[in-house]
């Protein structure tokens, strides 16, 4: 993967958000920074799909984080692009600040492609930070809905995978 200066991109986003908040006006030049981040997370998704050196379930967790970041950024972009039209200005800025901060914290943990196995403590921390980011995204309406996530997907395939998961859960926890 190409070298990526994560600090620089996040700093640029923070600066623009602060300026927007001060001026109470959306600056669409932030879209470019969000695009850079999205490309980065898309690259990480592919990296974890193709990486055969780490355990597959570890790779999945990291893929899952990158995919969530990407989806949330996509939603954020839509909110910014329609801010003027829908009079979301400057609410979208206020909503984005804690979300970007939480994403940055998650990115600190999962942003680097690595071939090291994940220790259980790190998995717990990654899941906690992911949950925190998704909770914030949900509170500020930037969490993609199930319908948005599954648009264009094979419903039967999804039902099959989900059905199999429910059986595993039942087998594991139904001890009666």
């Amino acid at each position: 993967m190409k070298r990526f200066n994560e600090i620089e991109v996040f700093n640029s986003i923070y600066t623009k958000l602060e300026e927007m908040e001060e001026r109470q006006q959306v600056d669409l030049s932030i879209m470019n920074d969000l695009d850079i981040l999205m490309r980065r997370f898309k690259g990480l998704e592919l990296f974890w799909i193709e990486n055969r050196k780490v355990k597959i379930d570890d790779a999945f967790i990291l893929y899952h984080c990158a995919r969530n970041c990407n989806n949330i950024l996509n939603k954020m972009k839509s909110r910014f692009s329609e801010a003027h039209e829908k009079h979301l200005n400057p609410q979208v800025v206020r909503d984005s600040i804690p979300l970007i901060s939480s994403m940055h914290a998650l990115c600190d943990l999962v942003g680097m492609p690595s071939e090291e196995p994940l220790v259980p403590e790190k998995i717990t921390l990654v899941l906690k930070r992911l949950k925190e980011m998704r909770d914030i995204a949900s509170n500020v309406s930037m969490l993609p809905s199930y319908q948005e996530e599954t648009r264009g997907l094979n419903v039967l395939q999804l039902k099959r995978q989900f059905g199999s998961m429910t059986e595993s859960l039942q087998a594991e926890f139904f001890e009666e």
């Binding site: 597959i56 995919r67 395939q157 998961m165 001890e175």
Partner: protein, 262 residues
């Protein structure tokens, strides 16, 4: 009389998965593991003003871990069946769907803060109880052999009495044996310690007439019973009730008890 029900992580996960499967994905889940969990959570939602449903940060964190561990298990199991992109994408969607439903469910439960120092004191008592129960499990005599010897000689050849008595012993003591086969995790002991803390807090702040229930499918809390069993094994459950005054049972039984009291 006030009633409080602590939702164990497995019940939260079961209810979340049920809601996601039926309402998002369109799968009809028939197993009563799911139906019981959803029935109890529906009771809590209908009686929101009574603030019955309770959860702690430890349980929330464990529920998240349980859900992700189930999905990780699926990924490990299916990695040869599907291409990785499909495998990852569909399971990521499933994990998100359940997580969203879990968030909705948790919104109906009272998230109680706990004092870590007080919980630590209770934790030592909980640990001691499980140690003593484990010792009791280790000391269980081989009653099946003794009972077989007591069968009158005339009917001794009519059946495999040792097998019959052995099966009975295993069933009667299933909850104790389970402690030997499956160690009680620290997180679960912490959950019980938090329950003890909360019960005493409720008694001090809301009056002595408070009952606290833990809805769980784990045998280190709830009785071991199976369809076809005449007996149920409840040594651990009874000990929890005796020492701490907390009633632990399966979601269905908790639903039956609490719904009658409302």
């Amino acid at each position: 009389m006030k009633n409080k029900v602590i939702f164990d992580s497995c019940v939260i996960v079961a209810a979340s998965v049920f809601m996601s499967a039926t309402e998002d994905v369109g799968i009809d889940l028939k197993h009563h593991f799911y139906e019981d969990a959803i029935q109890l959570s529906s009771l809590i939602k209908k009686n929101l003003s009574k603030r019955i449903g309770v959860v702690t940060a430890t349980i929330e964190s464990e529920a998240l871990g349980v859900l992700s561990e189930v999905i990780r298990g699926e990924i490990r199991r299916k990695y040869e069946e599907l291409d990785r992109e499909t495998l990852f994408r569909y399971h990521s969607i499933a994990l998100n769907a359940c997580d969203t439903r879990m968030r909705n469910l948790l919104a109906f439960l009272q998230r109680e803060p706990v004092d870590p120092y007080d919980v630590a004191v209770w934790f030592t008592q909980v640990t001691r109880m499980y140690e003593e129960l484990e010792q009791a499990a280790n000391k269980l005599e081989n009653l099946a052999y003794l009972k077989t010897q007591a069968v009158p000689p005339k009917i001794r050849k009519m059946a495999d009495w040792f097998e019959i008595y052995r099966t009975d012993d295993i069933r009667i003591n299933a909850q104790l044996y389970n402690l030997l086969f499956k160690k009680v995790e620290t997180e679960d002991q912490k959950i019980l310690a938090e329950a003890c803390y909360l019960l005493n807090l409720y008694k001090a702040t809301e009056g002595k007439d408070v009952s606290l229930y833990v809805a769980s499918t784990d045998h280190h809390f709830s009785p071991a019973r199976k369809p076809g069993w005449v007996v149920e094994s409840r040594q651990v459950t009874d000990e929890i009730k005796k020492r701490f005054g907390i009633v632990c049972d399966w979601p269905k039984q908790i639903y039956e008890i609490v719904s009658k009291k409302l």
